[in-house]
């Protein structure tokens, strides 16, 4: 069954490779005539620039990283998502809001702040969750892998395994709600 009406499909999860695969599957489920494209994180290049900053600049905290994620999402909405929807086509946002919220919640950021941060982002027509906990290292991965690489362990406040567990629990609960 292919989707014909224009839609914003959000794909969220932990591992970048798994999100990319789910995004391709979501795109394939859209009727060719209304198929737009996939909007990925770091379309604006902020994280690429962040990764090359000198160590003496001091590491980002989770909160700083989330502010940058929101700035990047605002860019994606402006250039990649809203224009496609305005043309009457569908677009897959992979990842969208829930991946970042899961990362923030796992690191102890309060829910109210996260809800406010992403208030500008429209509610997706459909939500898909990648229920896979495989998180690889390196910048070729997703936002969560990038966060693990950039934010020192002491600033994350927990081990990676604990954070992955918390994020998975959050995303599963979010999937049940949606």
């Amino acid at each position: 069954m292919t989707r014909r009406k224009p839609a914003l499909i959000a794909v969220d999860g932990l591992g970048g490779a798994a999100i990319a695969a789910a995004a391709r599957a979501a795109l394939a489920s859209i009727d060719r005539a209304t198929r737009g494209g996939v909007s990925c994180w770091d379309a604006s290049g902020v994280f690429e620039e962040l990764a090359v900053a000198g160590a003496d600049a001091g590491p980002p905290s989770v909160r700083t990283l989330l502010l940058l994620y929101a700035a990047d999402l605002a860019f994606r909405l402006r250039w990649e998502i809203r224009p496609v929807l305005a043309e009457g086509r569908s677009v897959v946002a992979a990842p969208y809001v829930e991946t970042a919220v899961a990362f923030g919640r796992a690191a102890g950021i309060d829910r109210g702040w996260l809800v406010n941060l992403f208030r500008f982002a429209p509610r997706p027509t459909e939500r898909r969750f990648v229920d896979r906990t495989a998180v690889r290292g390196g910048r070729g991965g997703g936002f969560v892998e990038f966060g693990f690489e950039q934010v020192p362990k002491v600033m994350l406040g927990a081990t990676r395994a604990e954070l992955v567990e918390r994020m998975t629990a959050y995303l599963r609960a979010s999937a049940r709600r949606s």
Binding site: S44, V46, E49, L50, A53, G54, D56, A57, G58, P60, S61, V62, R63, T64, L67, L68, A70, A71, A74, F75, R78, G108, I109, G112, W113, N116, L117, R119, F120, P152, V154, M155, G157
Partner: protein, 251 residues
């Protein structure tokens, strides 16, 4: 975050314990051309002569985020939301890396523009005050905020005396006015209106920035002497506790 109540207690004990001089945060706010940088430099020189350990932090100066903002400003690539969020990230990084470490060490931090700059400019760009204010949470309130009040006309004259305002400084991203000078006058009028509202809400100390440099400096010295005796604001407990939770305060 786990253990925040314990960390709040630690923050209170550190900033209210009488055995050492506590850190003080002094913010200089006002529109472009209000002379706050001149006053900030005079104030810093005076404080150092009085024996204070002083750290200065400027708006949009985080070594990590500033290059990201600069490259996007150069190509006029920022929407109001992106502009706001990136400046919020720059501010957060400086709070964690510069401001709180210095305050914890008992220094005087002079902020040449603080989060109120973000609020005034972003709201002047049409964003919602509540949304922008929450971006800056957990909030860190200065012990003193000096607001350098000038008219839009004076601001414009002083800014134009040193050159033509840049694209975002002139608010050309939101005014749709091609002439930067005309755009600046429109935009700074909005910014000043927002600053005046913030001055009332957040109890700024207003300095008449149309007066002579020497008069303003004398007033600031006197106000600082009165203000430094104020008790530490418990409103800051959350901001300090979060910083401690992410490894701040480790000696």
């Amino acid at each position: 975050m786990p253990g925040l109540s314990r960390l709040r207690r630690r923050a209170r004990e550190h900033f209210t314990g009488g055995s050492h001089r506590r850190g003080l945060l002094v913010a200089f706010e006002g529109p472009d051309g209000s002379g706050k940088t001149t006053q900030r430099k005079l104030f810093k020189t005076w404080l150092k002569a009085e024996g204070y350990d002083v750290v200065t932090t400027k708006w949009n100066s985080s070594a990590l985020i500033k290059p990201i903002i600069k490259s996007r400003k150069a190509v006029h690539a920022l929407s109001p939301e992106e502009f706001s969020l990136l400046h919020g990230a720059d501010f957060r990084h400086r709070v964690e890396q510069v401001i709180l470490p210095a305050l914890w060490a008992g220094k005087v931090v002079i902020a040449d523009r603080f989060l109120f700059t973000g609020l005034a400019r972003d709201v002047a760009r049409g964003l919602d005050l509540d949304w922008v204010l929450k971006l800056y949470q957990p909030l860190l309130w200065p012990d003193l905020v000096f607001y350098f009040a000038v008219s839009a006309g004076t601001s414009g004259r002083r800014v134009m005396a040193t050159g033509t305002p840049q694209f975002y400084e002139a608010g050309q991203d939101v005014t749709d006015v091609e002439d930067p000078v005309e755009s600046y006058q429109r935009f700074i009028t909005r910014v000043i209106r927002e600053y005046e509202s913030l001055a009332l809400i957040f109890n700024f100390i207003t300095v008449d920035a149309e007066r002579s440099i020497a008069d303003q400096h004398r007033q600031i010295r006197q106000l600082f002497r009165e203000g430094e005796k104020r008790p530490w604001s418990d409103w800051n407990a959350d901001a300090v506790a979060e910083w401690l939770a992410i490894g701040g305060g480790a000696s």
